[in-house]
Amino acid sequence: MDCRKFSERFGDFVEGLLSLKERRAMDEHMSQCVRCRELYTMAGGEPGDQEVVAPADLTESILSRTSGPVCASARGRLCDHVEGLLDPTGDALVSLHLRDCAECAGLSSILSSLRVDLPLLAELDPDVEFVGDVLARTRPRSRSRPAWIERFAEEWRNLIKRPRFAWEGAYVGAFLLMLIFGTSNAPLASVPQKAKEVAPQVRSSIGSVWVTTRGNVIETSSELAFDVRRRSSTVFETARETFEAARENFEAARKTLGIAREALEADRENLEAARESLGTTRESFETAREKFEADRENLEAARESLGTTRGTLETTRETLGTTRESLGTAREALEAAREALETFWESLPLMREKDDTKQPADQSGPDEGEKP
């Protein structure tokens, strides 16, 4: 193989499209030709390399410059992929993405586990008295009662559960009192006036009763006071025990709060660490991207240099052809000149003889050994 053939097949060689035999011939030529070996080195490879491994983040960089990140699209189909609802092509595409994307692969495995674990949350056992309570709430209500009574009772229960029910009741009560007693046409309008008249008589009769009752009340109240004092001591004891229990509960709650606070602090520290780690990762990513940019620029420069070198090589080849042709012409001219010189040398003695015949007495002729 010569340099011309090497140059013709160089592109396929770099792309790895040549057969083994041709590759060996190219390698052999490079081992003998310094210029071709340099050319191959400039193209980014060394003799003997079989393949060039792409950078790990190359695909992501290309996607970020073209279609954008594809994880969102993959996650849109991830649920259907887990449930086997995708068509074969779509399913294969998602599988290919999961092979290279650890984040989406992790989500996929979590979704698979959730299919099993989530239905387990459907049932929670209440306490053992629950059924009894429900039956107690439902059994007393006879199902033979008319439906309208049930509906009215239900509406009434809902009505009284509202917070503003007390205000509404007070308003309606006041309104009814006004209707019954407050106006001149009310059916019981005369009742307040009559009550005012009867009041002094009632007060005087109450006076005599009051004196008697007062004595009884004082006597009874002293007995009651003793009884209340006795009972209150018992209540006080119970209250003290309750207070002690409440204090213990409070202490326990405070301890639980302390533990929860510590856990919160630990979570916060973990969050800070994760945030710092994210920052470092981002910096590494930026550095890697810059390196990738620099590598790409170098590759572009090498490619341009390769183009230039190829042009130079073509020019050199043409010059070489021209030089070879000129050399052939020069060689022919030299042959012609040599033949002319040979003819001249052969004809030189005859010319001397002619000169000697023409000028026999002339002593100033050239020496025999002198050559033109």
């Binding site: 996650r75 849109g76 991830l78 649920c79 259907d80 992790g106 989500l107 495995s109 979590i110 979704l111 698979s112 586990s113 959730l114 674990d117 989530l118 239905p119 387990l120 949350l121 459907a122 049932e123 929670l124 056992d125 209440p126 306490d127 629950f130 059924v131 309570d133 429900v134 039956l135 709430r137 439902t138 059994r139 209500r141 199902r143 033979s144 439906a147 049930e150 239900e154 559960k161 917070p163 639980t256 929860a260």
Partner: protein, 187 residues
């Protein structure tokens, strides 16, 4: 085991034993649903009782063409939403949702529940606690209670396509939160 349609029919005829069997059959599911809405065991217990009372009163309105489960869940959801509205009118009794979650996770559906199953439930509750109400509800109805897309669509009054897309989004959201809380889950 008696099928649900037979139990319901006997209940409508006034058979108390059938009613008890129906309550025992669905108490865990109704209580689980009530807990998912109320996030408090005590309130969930009261609401579950209220749900069964409402079911008892309205069994006559249940039509045989519809399956019992969606009908019951629709009724239960309405009771839960009413209770939540009432709760918003008064200040919350407790804000210790985390402790409540741990306690509920420890209850489990069966006494033979293993420690790993309890921790899994705890993880799922924690992750769901941080989701929006709409996402949590759609997960609850479709993925946890196992309703079909059409049934969820009828229940929530939204198109089936919206149910699917919302459900997928909620599942991805849940998976993302779980991954943050416990990266080892699912591996």
């Amino acid at each position: 085991m008696l099928d649900v349609a037979t139990l319901v029919e006997r209940c409508r005829q006034g058979d108390d034993l059938a009613w008890e069997a129906l309550v025992r059959r669905f108490q865990s599911r109704v209580f689980g649903l009530a807990y998912h809405y109320m996030r408090n065991a005590e309130e969930a217990r009261d609401v579950a009782q209220e749900i069964f009372t409402r079911i008892y009163q309205r069994l006559d309105t249940f039509e045989g063409g519809e399956t019992f489960m969606p009908w019951m869940l629709r009724l239960a959801r309405n009771v839960c939403i009413d209770s939540l509205r009432r709760r918003k009118a008064r200040p919350p009794a407790s804000s210790e949702t985390g402790d409540e979650t741990l306690r509920m996770a420890a209850m489990g559906p069966t006494p033979e529940d293993s420690a790993s199953a309890r921790s899994t439930r705890q993880l799922l509750y924690r992750a769901m606690d941080r989701m929006s109400e709409s996402d949590r509800e759609i997960l609850l109805l479709k993925e946890i209670q196992g309703l079909k897309v059409e049934e969820v669509s009828n229940l929530l009054g939204i198109p089936t396509g919206t149910v699917k897309s919302r459900c997928n989004r909620a599942r991805i959201e849940l998976a993302t939160r779980i991954r943050r809380l416990d990266p080892s889950y699912g591996t």
